[in-house]
Amino acid sequence: MLLENFWKNHENLYYVVKNKKVMIGISIVVFMFLLAVIGPMLTSYDYDEFVSNGFQAPSADHWFGTTFMGKDVFTRVTLGLRTSLLVGLIAGVISTFVGCIIGFLAGYYGGVIDEILMAMTNIFIVIPSLALLIIISAYLPGDRGILIMSLIISVTAWPWTARAVRSQTLAIRSQDYVNLSRISSISVLQIIKEDIAANMLSYVFMVFILQFKGAILAAVGLEFLGLGPTQGISLGLVLQNALNWNAIQLGIWWWAILPGLILTIFVTALYFINTGLDEVFNPRLREM
């Protein structure tokens, strides 16, 4: 009886939990994070160790098999997952944050500010992000760390958030209750907090999921091209190694296919969450 009442009062939460897409997505994401954190501890190998003969297919000793030279793929993948997830997460947070501010300023104040910010945003959107990332990475001096990578990825990613947040702000801003607040001389900060933020929270969260998705794909992509963090192991680096050693042609499919599969499943899960949340927050879609 108590549970029934709880659901009736938190209707949105109920729909979130009931939505299959969201729950499946969240389970997979949680699993992946656990894999990244606990995974490397499950094996006794180090990622750079030559642990046995190369060329070994997945077995009880080596769940993901070994590389050409004899390193354990599972350890490399789970450890690499840590790096890639971290870069994706940090980049996602930064770009969402920056994008929100810019998008909000453009949408709320309108006029010249809007025109300038939107021109900037459009320019960035037109320029192919990977090309820009490659150019920037090329000129970076010294070692590339996780932070630097996250930063340059967010540089190309924020325009998306800005655009989305701006249109949402415009829609909310023209609502009457916001206009009332503006007339009644409540401070801008309070208007943001009470009227606008509350309605945007779900939207921003969904945007963040998309940003996270884009960032991790960009991160692994750069790593794959050899432009990832210079130290340590990352998911893209595993794939690049597999490619450079002609893994597929030599039949060492587990080296190339498995790491990418992990990434794809993770990204699909994020996509599921996003679509599911869309259904929750847009009741019209629920009927579909």
């Binding site: 009736k8 209707e11 109920y14 009927e287």
Partner: protein, 328 residues
């Protein structure tokens, strides 16, 4: 004796949601004769638009619970969708509340009309469009409108085009849902008289004119049905309702109308205090009793419909005692 085009018997339609049932239409009975314009008045949320939806398309979570709706003798609530689809536009039609947004932005008006009537087995040839142009002329629109996209038309023009389209196949019954609400006063007058004209020329057989604006109904409706919170408060000929209202709600509505020539300093506008009840899982009893100045113990029982005069009914326990005083 003109026949009944529409017979509604104890119709109930609820919105079934997670938290329970929103009893939006809860036991509604009335008829509409050929040649008649029935005005349906009431505050927002009283169920008038839900009534229209129940007739034309019941979109989940709106469900038909019980009761009959006989259109030209057949119960459309029990009719198979395939059969009823053929009746739409031909026998029953609607001028929707969202008329200004009822066009697809990428189709010309002409294409839209042609596609629609083709669905009903009518060939959109020269003869047909000659008739369309006649109707456009009737509403003071130039035939060039047909070659335009909706984006090129003003609000008033769109409204009139919709009226032409909805009545193009001369339906026996048409629902006009708040067709004047978004317009200025002179346009309101024009559109309302247009509806009456369509009825006079027998282009439409009968109409249900839904609005919250009683003064418009006074102009063109033959009978008025006052709804409150999903039920009929009072129904009767226009003159009766306006000059001899029996239900406290009707009385309050009438007296809250501004009178021409009377200024604020002479007589204050009286509104009705309070707001309509929330219809979620609402219980028995008169639903107006929370705002009614005459509510008493007996009002906790659901009132039954009682005859006041010929064709004039009301659902109130105390209507006899309260007389017909309009002044408060």
């Amino acid at each position: 004796m003109r026949e009944n085009i529409l017979e509604v018997k104890d119709l109930k339609a609820y919105y079934k949601i997670l938290k329970g049932d929103v009893k939006a239409v809860d036991g509604v009975t009335f008829n509409i004769k050929r040649g008649e314009i029935l005005g349906v008045a009431g505050e927002s949320g009283c169920g008038k638009s839900t009534l229209a939806s129940t007739f034309i398309t019941r979109k989940p979570p709106l469900q038909h619970i019980s009761g009959e709706v006989n259109l030209l003798g057949e119960d459309i609530m029990q009719m198979k969708e395939k059969k009823f689809k053929k009746m739409r536009l031909k026998d029953i039609s609607i001028i929707p509340q969202y008329a200004l947004d009822a066009f697809s932005p990428t189709k010309k008006i002409r294409t839209f009309i042609a596609d629609l009537v083709r669905e009903h087995g009518i060939s959109p040839d020269k003869k047909f469009f000659a008739k369309v142009e006649e109707r456009l002329d009737m509403v003071n629109l130039d035939p060039s409108v047909l070659n335009r996209f909706s984006i090129e038309l003003s609000g008033g023009m769109k409204q009139r085009v919709i009226m032409v389209i909805s009545s193009i196949l001369d339906p026996a019954f048409i629902i006009a849902d708040e067709i004047t609400s978004a317009l200025d006063v002179s346009s309101q007058r024009f559109v309302a008289t247009l509806l009456a004209k369509l009825r006079d020329e027998e282009i439409i057989g009968s109409a249900m004119f839904i609005t919250h604006d009683l003064s418009i109904l006074y102009q063109i409706a033959d009978r008025i049905m006052v709804m409150y919170a999903g039920r009929i408060a009072e129904i009767g000929p226009t003159d009766e309702i306006v000059n001899n209202p029996k239900h406290p709600y009707t009385k309050a509505l009438i007296s809250s109308l501004p009178q021409v020539g009377v200024q604020y300093k002479d007589k204050k506008l009286s509104g009705i205090e309070g707001t309509p009840p929330h219809l979620l899982n609402i219980g028995d009893g008169c639903r107006f009793r929370f705002r009614c100045p005459y509510a008493e113990e007996v009002c906790t029982n659901t009132p039954v419909r009682e005859k006041v005069a010929a064709g004039h009914y009301t659902a109130c326990h105390r209507w006899r005692e309260l007389g017909s005083d309009n002044n408060d």
